[in-house]
């Protein structure tokens, strides 16, 4: 009942809560998008209200919309507002929304640091818990650094609920801020012994995650974990530990032996299948390791038997896991798995795709020369059945993987393999056309003996272009034509009817293929043409030659008009060539040889790593500059033009003058040398091994090549399977008959130098149908043999690879950060010249502190009055350009004061000056109103680099308030920072200006901002940031405007102005100083002065008049003021008061 009442009152407060929104979305199925956009408009209105309950409700609804796929990052600031509510209910909503949509790129995250720190130290454990949960989802490197110490403290919190969360989140902190790992690790280790099982489990969890990435560093913890394993009863913890041991045993074989016993105990005692499975898994890992070191206590056969039982289980999950574990054994004990081939093949027929995929993985390791064809045949059947699924694509890649593994080790008959590939091209809608194509190319190039067969097959494929290009939306399969065209062209000597193929390659339909394939078609048509010419050489009948030239001349113009540049270029080039040849033909000149010479030489495959393996010659430093780069700085005074030009000349001179004959000869020699060493330079005599394996040595299998590809029923590869079986039988018989001959044959075989390793012993006697020479990929001479290029430098876990056993050094402490220096501006007792935003952690060893300071010591300098406020001046001395360096500043001030002092005498002159002021931009410093625009303020900031490092990529950003906004260039987002248009070498300062638009000027305000920049040291660069505050005083909105005494009098008489007064005690300044001070700091001009009485005037950027009457007597100053905006006046007077109370 009470709850209902509560609910009712809540409903009244909110226009629409989450439930209403959900209901609304459900009832607007037809126009959901429209309904939601209207809801978002409502939410925007709600977010504008001050009531935090309304805001929280709106944010809650946004979280729901985020789930539906709507971007809610625009409300990030409101989410932060809700997060900082003091009510748990709202805080929780805020943190939930933040955890759903904040990420590293969310800029308001930097505003949350203090709020999160406050929540972490909240007396209410659920405030802390909610903050930890939220933080775990959006922790950034900055947050991690700033909060690491707070979280570490929480690891020893009295409440286990907080402890376990704090322990768990440390992993995220480590990832984002790796420096924290070593200082925090001892305490993390302590938590393994925590009395609360939840905390213990969390600690195990974190350490296991860490150890998984860098197991070596955690070997020393093995005894501790061993103890835990035997004592813990929490299955979840046990699973984690056992998994951890699985990662550790490969590094320490002795551990494996020790583990076997407790693991087998667990296997027998536990009833939890999950634990049992992990135990078996780790035992397998142990055995695998043991075998490597030949100390295995028992054969892995036992494990395999266990797994077989799992696989045969009716529970699909166990079947899956059994296969998964089996594949682990496969890596080290392929033979013991091979005996279960029947089981694996059976799993291929399973209705469950996951299980089929696992079985496929296993197959990869199970093939041998003996069973390859059989297995692939089975897979082909599956391919036919699995039409239109991703599983089919998976099958296709697996077939190719299996066949091509270890350099085609298991393929005994390449004709069979080519026909398999050709069959695969008939699959519609496959994504792997490219893969098939590259296989075709690879086989045709590297297996010389197969070229003849391959070419004939490819020619047939080309003939079927229309079929290929027409079928399916997936264009991928036509990649095969790329390979086909290239093979036919390159090995055209094997073609039976080159003229026919040439015709096929130039059909108009070809123009519908993708550009790169067309280009290959044209290039290879030219090769074919050369082959035709060459073939007809010497025959009296030159009709074929003329026909084919005519064919090219007729067909090529179509391609000359192609939209693809490559096609166009090649086509027009070849067209001209053919026209020229035709001319020669008419003169009956023999051109065949010349044309063939265009395509002479053999192309060999180059290993993918060849480029990397080219050794760097002695004395060549690839990192050294050839020409020193010009200084990166953009400011002119740092880049003297003279030096740059001089350098240019020095380099340029030898280029033009001293190239004499000798030099030329030397260079030519060097170039030849270079070409000889260049693996990519195609030489006249290829270095590849030319085997003399003649075609006559190959036991030729009888094949009817005219079999069309699309015969219904029996597919071509099946035929090979049968043939192969017959052949093997025949061979077996022959072997029995003539042993002597076989011996001879073997000798011969070894003499021919087969390159690939023969399979296992038992397969030795299966002779391949083709004596193949698999051409290896070319490598540069004296290639480096190192294989250390596999490590990924961007691996985020690499940073966590640190030695954890080394004792902590003094410097290794987590940064303890002071609160942001909000008090700097509040207690303006400091000298006010330089504002440095201190950011240094307090507790630090001296040495590190110094280091850090050096890094961070970028100071934001701005000119400030002695009272500590950011000063706003509107100088009338617009003529001189000022340098706002620190040392110049005092002089500058004096100058101005002087001028103000005299201003009373020069009213007329000044007003004229003022007129010109409005047109030309003022030389501004600090915060200053913009005369041209009543709502703009210009802020000038001097950046001085006090460190010894180079600073670059500075970005200035201010968090806009409702009232004041940083003006950003068009197109950038509302939270984007502005790039500071210069870089700072050490010790240099420079000034940048930023424009703010201001709506209301009656109140002073402070804006928070950050400056981010990159500190570039010799060997490293770090990204740093400085927080600062900008203080917009009301005085900064005033513009010194002169006023005539009669106008002033009229103003005072008018009823619009409201008056107020202020009394200042104990002012010991002479009266003219006092006036100068008011004029200087608060932008007034003196209208009239009579003895110790003066009237002053100023105007705000929005046109408010401010009139002062200052009286001075007995060290007391009375200021009577009038203004048409009372709050503005009040604030200005407050500021004047401050100015004098400090002096």
């Amino acid at each position: 009942m009470a709850l209902k009442m509560v609910k009712g009152s809540i409903d009244r407060i909110f226009d629409k809560n989450l439930q209403d929104l959900v209901r609304g979305v459900r009832s607007h199925r037809e126009d959901e998008a429209k309904y939601i956009s209207s809801c978002i408009d409502e939410i925007k209105q709600e977010l504008k209200q001050d009531n935090i309950a309304v805001k929280a409700n709106a944010v809650c609804k946004l979280t729901y919309l985020q789930m539906l796929g709507y971007d809610i990052s625009w409300a990030a600031f409101n989410i932060v507002e809700v997060m900082s509510s003091s009510k748990f209910t709202y805080k929780r909503i805020g943190y939930l929304a933040a955890s759903q949509c904040f990420h590293d790129g969310t800029d308001v995250i930097m505003l949350t640091t203090n709020q999160i720190r406050k929540d972490l130290s909240s007396p209410n454990q659920y405030d802390t818990g909610v903050a930890l949960t939220g933080l775990s989802c959006f922790v950034t490197p900055d947050l991690a650094r700033d909060l690491a110490n707070d979280i570490m403290t929480l690891m020893s919190h009295t409440k286990p609920y907080i402890r376990k969360k704090a322990v768990l989140i440390m992993y995220k902190v480590f990832l984002k801020y790796p420096e924290s790992l070593r200082p925090a690790f001892p305490r993390l280790k302590e938590k393994l012994d925590d009395p609360d099982p939840g905390v213990q489990s969390a600690a195990v969890n974190v350490i296991c995650e860490l150890a998984r990435r860098n197991p070596r560093n955690y070997l020393s913890l093995a005894p501790l974990f061993f103890k835990l394993m035997t004592s813990s009863t929490n299955n979840w913890v046990l699973i984690k530990i056992i998994k951890l041991f699985g990662a550790l045993t490969p590094l320490e074989p002795r551990l494996g032996k020790k583990l076997i016993e407790p693991l087998t105990n667990l296997i027998h005692s536990t009833s939890a299948m999950s634990l049992l499975y992990e135990c078996v898994n780790t035992v397998i890992a142990d055995c695998c390791v043991c075998v490597k070191t030949d100390t295995c206590p028992r054969p892995p056969q036992l494990c395999v038997q266990k797994l077989r039982i799992l696989i045969e289980d009716s529970d699909q999950n166990l079947k899956y896991l059994g296969l998964l574990a089996m594949s682990k054994i496969l890596k080290t004990h392929p033979k013991s798995v091979q005996s279960h081939k029947d089981l694996v093949l059976q799993c291929l027929d399973d209705k469950d795709e996951s299980i089929r995929l696992r079985a496929l993985d296993l197959l990869y390791g199970m093939v041998s020369k003996k069973n390859l064809m059989e297995i692939v045949k089975k897979l082909m059947v599956h391919v036919d059945k699995a039409e239109g699924t991703t599983y089919r694509d998976e099958l296709l890649t697996k077939i190719i993987d299996i066949c091509s593994q270890s350099n085609y080790q298991y393929i005994t008959n390449f004709e069979w393999y080519i026909s398999i590939l050709v069959e695969l091209t008939r699959l519609e809608g496959t994504r792997h056309g490219h893969l098939i194509a590259s296989q075709m190319l690879d086989v045709a190039v590297r297996v010389k003996a197969i070229r003849g067969f391959a070419v004939v097959q490819m020619a047939t494929l080309l003939d079927n272009t229309t079929l290929l290009a027409g079928s399916g939306q997936h264009k991928s399969i036509c990649e095969v034509l790329y390979a086909a065209a290239w093979i036919c062209g390159e090995f055209s000597e094997h073609l039976e009817d080159p003229v026919h193929t040439l015709e096929a390659m130039l059909r108009p339909k070809v123009a519908t293929l993708p550009g790169h394939i067309q280009a290959i078609y044209i290039q290879n048509a030219a090769k074919l043409f050369a082959a035709v010419l060459n073939g007809q050489q010497g025959t009296p009948d030159c009709q074929t030659m003329q026909e084919s030239s005519q064919l090219l001349i007729d067909r090529l113009p179509l391609f000359v008009q192609s939209a693809d540049l490559e096609v166009q270029e090649r086509a027009s080039c070849i067209l001209q060539l053919v026209k020229f040849i035709q001319k020669l033909q008419h003169k009956e000149v023999e051109v065949g040889e010349e044309v063939t010479a265009l395509f002479a030489g053999e192309l060999n495959p180059v290993a993918p790593k060849a480029q990397k393996k080219v050794p760097v010659p002695d004395g060549l430093d690839l990192d050294a500059w050839i020409n020193e780069p010009p200084s990166e700085s953009e400011s002119e005074d740092e880049k003297p033009v003279a030096v740059f030009a001089e350098e240019e000349l020095r380099h340029a001179r030898p280029h033009h003058t001293e190239v004499d004959e000798k030099e030329l000869a030397r260079r030519r020699e060097a170039r030849k040398q270079e070409q000889a060493n260049n693996p990519f330079y195609i030489k006249a005599s290829p270095t590849s091994q030319k085997d003399s394996t003649g075609v006559e040595h190959i036991p030729v299998v009888q094949i009817d090549l005219s079999v069309p590809l699309k015969v219904p029923g029996m597919s071509t590869s099946d035929k090979y399977l049968k043939l192969e079986e017959e052949r093997r039988q025949r061979e077996r018989k022959e072997r029995g008959k003539k042993e002597k001959k076989k011996k001879k044959k073997r000798e011969k075989r070894s003499g021919m130098g087969r390159r690939h390793d023969s399979g296992p012993e038992s397969e030795e006697d299966i002779a391949p149908a083709h004596m193949v020479d698999i051409v290896t990929e070319e490598m540069p001479e004296n290639a480096l043999s190192s294989d250390d290029d596999e490590k990924d430098p961007n691996d985020p876990y690499r940073a966590l690879d640190v030695d954890l056993d080394k004792p902590l050094a003094d410097s290794e402490k987590l940064p303890v950060r002071a609160h942001r220096p909000t008090n700097i501006l509040k207690s303006p007792a400091d000298d006010g010249e330089v504002q440095e935003v201190p950011k240094e952690p307090k507790k630090k060893s001296k040495k590190e502190k110094r280091d850090k300071e050096e890094e961070r010591k970028v100071r934001l300098l701005w000119l400030r009055c002695p009272n500590g406020e950011i000063q706003c001046t509107c100088t009338k001395s617009s003529k001189h350009k000022k340098k706002k360096q620190k040392k110049d500043k005092e002089k500058e001030e004096k100058k101005r004061k002087k001028q103000h002092g005299h201003s009373g005498d020069r009213e007329g002159e000044e007003s004229v000056q003022n007129g010109t002021l409005e047109e030309e931009p003022l030389p501004v410093c600090d915060i200053q109103g913009n005369l041209q625009n009543g709502s703009q303020v210009v802020v000038s900031i001097i950046f001085e680099n006090k460190s010894t490092s180079f600073l670059k990529s500075m970005e200035f950003n201010v968090l806009d308030s409702l009232n004041s906004k940083l003006q950003r260039p068009e197109g950038s987002g509302p939270h984007d920072g502005l790039t500071v248009p210069f870089q700072l070498p050490p010790g240099v300062s420079n000034e940048a200006r930023f424009i703010f638009s201001v709506q209301s000027i009656v109140m002073p305000q402070r804006l928070k901002g950050t400056l981010t920049f990159i500190v570039k040291a010799d060997d490293s660069s770090t990204h740093e940031k400085l927080d600062f505050k900008l203080h917009f005083t009301c005085s900064s909105y005033l513009i010194t405007t002169p006023c005539y005494s009669d106008t002033f009098a009229k103003l005072l008489e008018s009823a619009d102005l409201k008056g107020t007064s202020v009394r200042l005690q104990e002012v010991s300044l002479p009266f003219h100083h006092l006036l100068a001070k008011i004029c200087f700091h608060h932008h007034f001009s003196v209208v009239e002065r009579i003895d110790s009485c003066a009237s002053l005037y100023s105007r705000s950027i929005q046109g408010h008049h401010v009139c002062l009457l200052v009286k001075y007597a007995h060290q007391t100053v009375t200021i009577d003021a009038k203004c048409d905006e009372s709050s503005l006046l009040g604030n200005v007077l407050e500021e004047i008061k401050k100015t004098f109370s400090q002096s």
């Binding site: 439930q19 959900v22 971007d71 990420h103 922790v139 376990k164 939840g198 209705k351 795709e353």
Partner: protein, 158 residues
């Protein structure tokens, strides 16, 4: 580590999504669609593990899911998690929901997405398993709900 937790119904409508790695909203929706596509075409009597969700990624990751009446609970995890362990965890999570909502059904999840999130937060935190003991989870959730209620009473009296 758990990379993502998705709950959607038999028609692929998301009921709760929780990514522990950042993806933009459109990418998230694409992942949900793809995952639904993969999971929904599987029979109920096949295994609960699935590989090859291309979007969320990498060979190290797999989907572990359970299907309850109208809802799919899908966890995307890497190889450091035990497959059967995660299956148990899903069961724990669902039983917790059942306790907290008293005979949970899809409608509870539809209208109280926030509450489901709060419960999940007590089970998994930042992609790591926080608590597997159901009584502990329920106790913490209830304590927090009580706190919320006391605040609401306070607010409504104002």
């Amino acid at each position: 580590m758990i990379k993502a937790i998705l709950i959607f119904n038999n028609h692929g409508k998301p009921r709760l999504i929780r990514f522990y790695q950042y993806f933009a909203e459109d990418m998230q929706q694409q992942i949900i669609r793809e995952t639904f596509h993969l999971v929904s075409k599987r029979d109920d009597n096949v295994c609960n593990f699935l590989e090859g969700g291309s979007l969320i990624g990498g060979s190290d990751y797999k989907l572990i899911y359970r299907h309850y009446a109208t809802l799919y609970f899908v966890f995307c995890v890497d190889s450091s998690e035990s497959e059967l362990g995660i299956l148990d965890l899903i069961q724990v999570f669902v039983e917790t929901l059942d306790k907290c909502f008293e005979n949970v059904c899809e409608l509870d999840l539809i209208f109280h997405m926030d509450k489901v999130h709060y419960i999940l937060q007590e089970v998994v935190m930042g992609g790591m398993v926080l608590e597997t003991n159901m009584n502990e989870i329920v106790a913490q959730v209830e304590l927090q709900n009580r706190m919320e209620k006391s605040e609401f009473v306070f607010i409504s009296r104002m």
